[in-house]
């Protein structure tokens, strides 16, 4: 295969090709580097690229295979990650100016797991400052740009993760999701993103945005790739007391059950936190129709009124962010982008009782969601982003500001943030393109720890659609 062809292969395909020694890890890495050379100037997806280190790792992976050692299902596969996963002794900016020269004291558990599985690390990716922002803007390191249209946003905060996977610069990437930050860039860039159940993946060694709402997860080109990655990174971690001890399934082996017989609720919100654009609604309806043709029973469901839940989430994020950022907010407030700083400041004024009540409410919100939208269905499908992907200029709060801009940016998370508060799994898969040629994402939501079912539905859907096969040119 030519380098270009290698880079276009899926993560699972390239992993199997490397394992069978039809392709070397070095060749796969060089193919990614060639894509990066072309696409980095157009997307600004990478904050740091370490070519020499990656090629050295790839050579080592090839040598191990030649000696009969295969570390795991990702042996020799090049990836890169949002610049918030700590690697001991190395830079980790969190997309900020404040940590531009900061070196991490520990290595994140998820990176340790990827190392053990044989991943080659190309570098670290652009992100919203301190993982705070749904669009992909970054005043310190430059905005990340959508590979489908470089005037449009990537979604955030895992902006570089979405852009690099979509542009085939990497086979997969880690993102993180506090209010939609995996699913928004997955949707906007036309890739697959999983926010698993709270506690399914360790947060140890990942820069925090909000301890109670942060979720670590993968972005990939296909559902199969995503399932493989989640199987590697999920599981209990003594370093993160919120992780579950539930056994982790081999998600990839559970992909082929199909959608036949499943009961799927279709939620097309008409008002409230996220009014729905017609073409996005049509794409999601078409996706539901496709699942219906695969044998799923589709019923219309109504989401609960998420207004109180959304406010509770804001209280939790603002209080936790204000607490962790306080030393910098006091000493170097101007080192933050205005919109990042101002979104945290209310946390200093919210009474502790309100913060604790917001946490106490989560259980009731979960019970309400399961008793209403999820009642009698196996999963719910809805849009990830309820409107076509806007331009960077239209959503530039820092440069433009104003109520209309703030409103549009605020609406980004209307259909994603609720599932962080609920802690339930949510998967975004590509389901179409809008009239501007930008991707549309279908969000699948399930019961706690039902990631395997979401992957099964998403995989069945990708078996009869081609949206995930399109590559930006």
């Amino acid at each position: 295969m030519r380098h270009e062809d290698l880079a276009l292969a899926d993560l699972s395909e390239i992993a199997e090709a490397i394992a069978a020694r039809r392709v070397t890890s070095v060749a796969a890495t060089e193919a990614c580097l060639a894509r990066i050379e072309t696409w980095q100037p157009r997307t600004n997806a990478f904050l740091r690229l370490d070519t020499d280190k990656a090629l050295a790792q790839a050579k080592a992976m090839d040598a191990e295979l030649a000696a009969g050692i295969r570390r795991g299902p990702l042996h020799g596969v090049p990836m890169a990650h949002k610049d918030m996963y700590y690697r001991k002794g190395e830079l980790s900016t969190g997309g900020s100016a404040i940590r531009r020269d900061w070196r991490a004291p520990v290595t994140a558990t998820v990176l340790q797991k990827l190392d053990a599985a044989g991943v080659v690390e190309l570098g670290f990716l652009n992100m919203a400052e301190f993982a705070a922002g749904p669009t992909g803007h970054n005043v310190h390191h430059g905005h990340c740009r959508n590979p489908w249209d470089d005037k449009r946003v990537t979604g955030g905060s895992s902006s570089g993760s979405g852009a690099s996977v979509a542009a085939r610069m990497v086979y997969g990437a880690l993102g993180s999701d506090t209010g939609g930050s995996i699913r928004l860039p997955a949707s906007a860039c036309g890739v697959v993103g999983m926010k698993a159940t709270y506690g399914r993946v360790s947060r140890a060694g990942a820069l925090a945005r909000s301890w109670s709402l942060d979720h670590v997860g993968p972005l990939t080109r296909t559902v199969r790739d995503n399932a493989r990655l989640l199987s590697v990174i999920a599981g209990h971690d003594p370093q993160d007391s919120t992780t579950s001890e539930k056994p982790v399934p081999d998600y990839e082996t559970l992909l082929d059950g199909g959608a036949s017989g499943l009961r799927i609720g279709l939620a097309l919100p008409a008002d409230g936190t996220a009014s729905l654009d017609a073409q996005v609604g049509a794409a999601v309806q078409a996706a539901a129709d496709a699942l219906g043709r695969l044998g799923a029973r589709i019923t219309l469901v109504t989401l609960p009124d998420f207004t109180a839940l959304y406010r509770a989430a804001e209280v939790i994020v603002k209080c936790e962010a204000a607490s962790m950022h306080r030393p910098w907010l006091e000493k170097t407030p101007d080192a933050y982008a205005n919109q990042v700083r101002t979104r945290m400041e209310a946390g200093f004024f919210i009474p502790a009782t309100q913060y604790i009540d917001a946490l106490r409410l989560r259980g009731h919100f979960v019970k309400e969601f399961l008793a209403t939208a999820m009642d009698g269905v196996d999963a719910v499908v809805l849009p990830a982003i309820p409107f076509p992907i806007p331009t960077i200029e239209e959503t530039d709060v820092e440069a433009k500001g104003g109520p209309a801009t703030l409103s549009m940016v605020g609406r980004f998370t209307g259909l994603t943030r609720p599932f962080n508060t609920l802690g339930v799994p949510a998967l975004s898969v590509p389901c179409g393109f809008d009239s501007n040629g930008a991707p549309i994402g279908l969000q699948l939501v399930g019961r706690p720890f039902d990631e395997a079912l979401l992957y099964r539905i998403g995989h069945a859907y990708q078996g009869v659609t081609e949206f995930h096969r399109r590559v930006p040119v």
């Binding site: 004024f349 989560r362 259980g363």
Partner: protein, 66 residues
């Protein structure tokens, strides 16, 4: 300066050791009031004495598909 803004000013300087101008204090007071009202109303509707925030992870495990 209205009552909520004065309260915010007192919290900022008297309790938190922070300084904001009057305009920003007014914005923060309005933002916090809206968030507090929403949570307080939801709490009044839903919460009981025995609601423990630390049971959230176990609730997720209990509500998983059997």
């Amino acid at each position: 300066m209205d009552e909520k803004t004065r309260t915010a000013a007192g919290i900022a300087t008297g309790l938190q050791g922070l300084r904001y101008d009057d305009k920003r204090l007014g914005e923060l007071a309005a933002e916090v009031a809206a968030l507090n009202d929403a949570v307080r109303q939801a709490a009044a509707e839903w919460l009981t004495f025995d609601d423990d925030p630390f049971t959230f992870p176990s609730l997720l495990e209990r509500e998983a598909r059997k």
